[in-house]
Symmetry: C2
Subunit: 330 residues, 2 copies
DNA sequence: ATTCGAAATGGAACCGGTTCCAAATAAGCG
DNA sequence: CGCTTATTTGGAACCGGTTCCATTTCGAAT
């Protein structure tokens, strides 16, 4: 029932000025004895400073984290890692959710800059000119995850080469009629680079054409797209999916059609969700090292915040995980 | 590059006092003409007020949302729904992440109360006395999700009856040697009520004993626990899992052992993840209506914030989803 | 035109912190 | 022990908003 304590209360209770308490909290000059006194009061009363009242502070020790949504496995996993890292270094993460809406993404950047957070990490779905403008205005370090940001710093997956490896693998397996369930090209990393990699890999084996069906990151959309694909007379022998989630949609439809994977159709994913090995047959996919990705990103963010120099582009590693969803053909 | 605009700038640019701008923004008394003038300036300069500077405001239109982690499917899904709802009513959700740590949970409550958010929603893993103390001190509406909070308001799943229905179902199917992979009793809703329901349901069919193996919400832990279970000589004929995620762990181990589900072992889950129908065989489980749960919760939260009366306890509905992971025995 | 109450406005104080600066205290040194 | 310098400290101003209250303006009624 007692009112929330403010720094003034603590100051009075320990018989010093509030500036002294503030200094104590932020590691400034305070005599050891004074510090002890303040510490005792703070602990006795469980005082917690109001993080958002640091209006005029140089640094708030808050890092904004803008995410599209929590519907995939990648986002929550990555957030998990990043949050843990930031906390370890005593930064408070502030998660903003855009619901896969580009305009919201921009707005979130603006909003966060207005809150004088120390830095912003954007798990962007694409990097538009509005993004760049918002970042310009922001005047604080902004780190893009997953999408390359030429004007600044980003930590991305090596989507092109991952795609390339997958394309080559499929080519070597003798795929011939390949369809891709993909997301919009607006998403440069996943929608474009990843796809281009696959196409180039296939080309090396003489497969010039990969039919693309556009879908979204959502499971239900993937199911619908897959349904339309397999409603046709002739089926592809291989379906490449932009993400594991989309591959799950394909699995569902193929189960319904009583088609056999991979005998009738080979399927591949991207991401290696925890459950992808549980699919029957286990899904062949590209593993993105979330742990590594998150750690690197958070580390770079903190370095940027502390004004240290960082390399403009960090690339997260990947690995092809071969399971049983692709058949040797011909 | 231009500096961030403040309310003072807007006031000067439109030739009024900043109190007037503030009033305009918050729907107070302003002449139509004045309003138009201010509006023009705000739009011309893309002014966005600093949400966190409302230190002395009655209400910040911010709702704190405390979640344990994003590793399950339930949490991200629920957050998704809640966030969408809150935004629709022009509230800003502030997501705090506790990493399944009870102490962090308390701290988050305290921290959020210090930020004068309008209300807090806690997706709690349990309700301890520390929680109650923190809520007491908070002095703002706090809504618990998933765990019953006797001193206040909560929206929970009907874990007992859901468990009961599942237990009866298994009893009717002729289960006899039942093992449960469960989470700690600290979690009253899942760890206790849900389990008790299953046990009571089984008892109606004369099955007095259900062996419990304690595990956690994490996939990897579930795998380990399942491994230890199936390393034994004699196997249960039915494994009941506290969540679908845990069931996935069981599937993995049974796949490795080349055991047949449900012929050798029946398996059930709880939650009905999107992918649960993709498991082979598709998982029989209890569906929790996330959509409904989230909507109800957000709605109640807003009503609490607006000082309207709400019923202390709301119960989310469930449904038994019968698929193919349980065999008829005897 | 005058009066009066309601609506609109500006100014000042405040929210809970941080930071700057000057004053007070402690420490170092000859 | 006195003087200089470095370290601590308190006080005031500030951050970007909101709110209270007194004052001005408006509009309608007399």
């Amino acid at each position: 029932m007692e009112k929330k304590l403010t720094i003034r209360d603590i100051a009075e209770l320990s018989g010093v000025a509030k500036s002294t308490v503030s200094r104590y909290l932020n590691g400034g000059c305070v005599r050891e004895e004074t510090g002890r006194k303040i510490k005792k009061v703070i602990e006795a009363y469980h005082y917690e400073p109001n993080v958002f009242a640091r209006l005029s502070a140089k640094n708030s020790r808050i890092i904004g984290l803008i995410v599209p949504g929590f519907d995939s496995i990648v986002t929550p996993g990555l957030v998990e890692v990043i949050v843990a890292y930031l906390k370890r270094y005593d930064y408070t993460p502030l998660i903003m959710h855009t619901g896969n809406d580009l305009a919201e993404e921009i707005k979130s950047i603006e909003r966060l800059t207005g809150m004088n957070v120390d830095g912003i990490m954007v798990l962007a779905s694409s990097v538009t000119k509005s993004h760049e403008a918002a970042v310009e205005k922001a005047n604080i370090p902004v780190l893009f995850l997953g999408q390359r940001y030429c004007q600044g710093t980003s930590v991305i997956n090596d989507d092109y080469h991952a795609g390339l490896e997958l394309g080559r693998y499929l080519g070597a397996k003798g795929a011939s009629h390949v369809a891709g369930l993909w997301v919009s090209e607006q998403d440069l990393a996943v929608g474009r680079e990843r796809k281009r990699g696959v196409q180039d890999g296939l080309k090396e084996f003489g497969i010039e054409e990969m039919e693309i069906l556009e879908t979204s990151f959502f499971y239900q959309d993937a199911v619908k797209t897959a349904e339309s694909l397999f409603a046709r007379e002739v089926w592809p022998d291989t379906v490449v999916c932009a993400t594991d989630r989309i591959a799950e949609g394909v699995y569902k439809v193929l189960y319904q059609k009583k088609a056999r994977i991979p005998e009738d159709v080979s399927v591949t994913g991207f991401g290696d969700y925890e459950t992808s090995e549980l699919l029957r047959p286990p899904l062949t996919t590209i593993r993105l090292d979330l742990e590594n990705w998150g750690e690197i990103s958070a580390e770079i963010m903190l370095q940027m915040v502390q004004g240290k120099p960082v390399s403009k582009l960090q690339i997260n590693s990947f690995a092809l995980i071969e399971r049983d969803s692709v058949a040797k053909r011909r």
